[in-house]
């Protein structure tokens, strides 16, 4: 009897039912996402975080800290030499316009914008496989945008 009542209630209030279902689904999805944002637990979020919100404190022993300046159109320095598995902290600064730093690693993608006047931070573990990993500028910065890149050399 109660089942029949519920079914006929749902049929009568179909629109409200669907709104409530959607609201619950969105609430779950948004809460999960907010929790990730605050705790930085997801893979990619941990690997590329402006404002240093995902940089581990204290830094792991042996972290390589690199200060990089981006400019029209290049990076200084444009090579990072790291050991396999070594933690790397890159502190990014721009001296002219907004640039980007996009580095695809086997374990995830690092992608931050470098805004003049503010530092951006990138923290990652160098890949375990030796080789060269190229980063590129991802934010349009003028006619030389396509030619801005650098290399992480893992040796």
């Amino acid at each position: 009897m109660m089942g029949m009542g519920a079914a006929s209630w749902i049929k009568k209030h179909g629109e409200l039912t669907w709104f409530l279902v959607l609201l619950v689904l969105v609430g779950i999805f948004a809460t999960w996402s907010l929790e990730e944002v605050v705790s930085g637990t997801s893979t990619n979020y941990r690997f590329g975080l402006p404002l240093a919100s995902g940089v581990p404190r204290p830094l792991p022993n042996g972290t390589l800290v690199v200060n990089i300046t981006a400019y029209q159109w290049g990076y200084t320095p444009d090579v990072i030499v790291a050991k396999p598995g070594q933690p790397v902290l890159v502190v990014l600064h721009s001296r002219d316009v907004v640039h980007g730093f996009l580095l695809k690693l086997p374990s995830g993608t690092v992608n931050v914008d470098i805004v003049p006047g503010t530092l951006s931070y990138v923290f990652f573990y160098a890949p375990n496989t030796p080789g060269n990993y190229t980063w590129r500028c991802s934010e349009y910065c003028g006619i030389g945008h396509s030619f801005m890149n650098g290399t992480v050399e893992v040796i």
Binding site: G14, E15, W18, F19, L22, L23, L25, V26, F29, A30, S33, L34, E36, V37, V38, S42, T43, N44, Y45, F47, G48, P50, L51, S53, D96, V97, V98, G100, L102, K104, G108, T109, V110, N111, V112, D113, V115, P116, G117, T118, L119, S120, R136, C137, S138, E139, Y140, C141, G142, I143, G144, H145, S146, F147
Partner: protein
């Protein structure tokens, strides 16, 4: 003869102006709505040609900086025209048509609207004349550097932003006048029908959000002329407070047409009128709460990124409800009338919206956005939206509009109907391929706005270029019969002996 007699003009300026405006200005709501949508189609052709040409440049992965000024000028023209004039013109034209067709609401300020229309176009010409290479985002400080402009130099680079300011001020005024006049001339009582409800709400949104863009443009102008400091993060946030809502002006106005007309072609009533009306509040409010999701890789505080992540998901739920509502309407119908080209256009618009929207669900997620931010993935997503819900949805409305205005003078022949149908399908199919090629390439790391790129992406670029050109042919097949109706009307207006059928 007195001095007064000797300086009297042979004609009265006021009467002369009246004759000119009477002859050359639109004097009906239907005519004015066509002024805006037809102008939109012309600008679409201009920016579309620019895209087809810069896509040819991208067939070479080894381009040097020498080609950069041409490429980035075409790219900027493409983006400026699309977002700063095409989208608002289509929105306003759709808003005017919806209120006229469904409720008999009328414009009353014809002369003013016509003057503002032409000024808006002039502003865009002034903006583009400097050869800006800002891309449409006008990100500071890049947009404030002289090296970002080909032809304007020194303080004159501010003319680009002054030109855009003129365009946006005129557009805002026209949008406000449209809503104001429409409400004043409404004769029916009770609830406004669904098409004008949506169309006028998002015409009104132009008035709510464009002032943020105008403030940004004024700030840039002061930055160039008076050396006022422009904080990049604050200016960019201000820009996106318009820059996100603008992408919804046309889609959500088109939703109104889909709600009104898809049921007619499906031969049954809309699944839920209540959903459609409740949803409007969610879409209107949340459109204006999500803007910083374009800056998820910027150094913004975590709470802002968390907020826009959640608010974007809520907005996506609103779009999902629209899809569910219309989808159920079609699914529960006995048949759908694809033989009417408007029915076909609306169906393809809805289908395209679904196809374009689903891959975008990862974009507001803070965890996933960095994988694809500033890559061709995003470019593919928003272009799929533009090609389907915006252009095909607008085409359905424009065909309806033109038939309403010119149908007795130049009814569409069988050849025209076949051409439009072929054009709709060729456009839709070709641009689906382009969009998915873009998203696939972007997911693998092809960065946007590059003229030189890793050679492994060349097959993707070739696919995009070939199918974009095919899509361009589709546009010609659709637009030529539509514009031929306007041409015949013009001939009838200016030549004697041509009569209505």
């Amino acid at each position: 003869m007195s001095i007064k007699d000797s300086i009297r003009l042979p004609w009265s300026p006021a009467i002369k102006l009246q004759q000119l405006t009477g002859k050359y200005f639109s004097q009906t709501t239907l005519g004015t709505s066509i002024l805006f949508t037809a102008a939109g189609l012309v600008w679409l052709a201009v920016m579309g040609l620019a895209a087809l040409f810069f896509r040819l440049i991208l067939l070479n992965p080894y381009n040097t900086e020498a080609i950069a000024p041409i490429y980035y000028s075409l790219l900027t023209l493409h983006g400026y025209v699309a977002m700063y004039i095409l989208v608002p013109f289509l929105t306003i034209g759709i808003g005017m048509y919806a209120m006229y067709k469904e409720e008999g609401m009328e414009l009353t300020h014809f002369d003013l609207v016509n003057v503002l229309f032409w000024l808006a176009n002039l502003g865009m010409v002034i903006a583009l004349a400097g050869g800006p290479m800002t891309s449409w985002y006008i990100t500071p400080p890049l947009g404030l550097l002289q090296t970002t402009f080909n032809f304007y130099s020194g303080p004159a680079i501010a003319l680009t932003y002054i030109g855009l300011f003129i365009t946006e001020a005129c557009i805002t005024a026209v949008a406000g006048i449209t809503v104001f006049d429409g409400i004043r001339t409404r004769r029916n009582k009770g609830k406004l029908s669904i098409f004008p409800t949506y169309a006028l709400t998002f015409t009104a949104m132009i008035v709510f959000t464009t002032p943020f863009l105008m403030a940004t443009l004024m700030w840039y102008t002061l930055g160039i002329l008076a050396h006022v400091y422009v904080n990049p993060t604050v200016a960019f946030l201000l820009f996106w407070m318009w820059g996100h809502p603008v992408v919804y002006f046309v889609p959500f106005a088109v939703f109104g047409a889909l709600y009104a007309y898809i049921p007619k072609f499906a031969g049954r009533k809309l699944f839920s009128e209540k959903w459609a009306r409740w949803n409007l509040f969610l879409l209107f409010v949340f459109t204006m709460l999500v803007w910083a999701h374009h800056m998820l890789v910027w150094p913004l505080p975590v709470w802002i990124r968390g907020f826009v992540n959640a608010s974007t998901l809520l907005l996506a739920a609103g779009s999902g409800v629209t899809v569910l509502n219309l989808g159920l309407t079609i699914f529960l119908a006995k048949r759908y009338d694809f033989s009417d080209i408007r029915g076909l256009a609306y169906f393809l618009a809805l289908l395209g919206f679904i196809i374009a929207g689903i891959p975008a669900l990862i974009l507001p997620e803070n965890a996933l956005n960095p994988i694809v931010h500033n890559t061709y993935y995003v470019v593919g997503h928003f272009h799929l939206m533009i090609w389907t819900i915006i252009i095909l949805g607008s085409m359905g409305i424009i065909i309806d509009q033109f038939l309403n205005a010119f149908g007795r003078i130049a009814p569409l022949s069988n050849l025209s109907l076949k051409s439009i149908r072929a054009g709709l399908l060729l456009w839709f199919g070709s641009f689906l391929v382009v969009g998915f090629a873009m998203m696939a390439a972007g997911y693998q790391g092809l960065i946007r706005r590059e003229i030189a790129y890793p050679v492994e992406f060349l097959p993707y670029m070739q696919t995009m270029t070939i199918f974009a050109w095919l899509g361009g042919i589709g546009f010609v097949l659709m637009a030529v019969p539509a514009f031929s109706m306007v041409t015949r009307w013009l001939v009838m207006k200016y030549y004697s002996g041509v009569v209505e059928q």
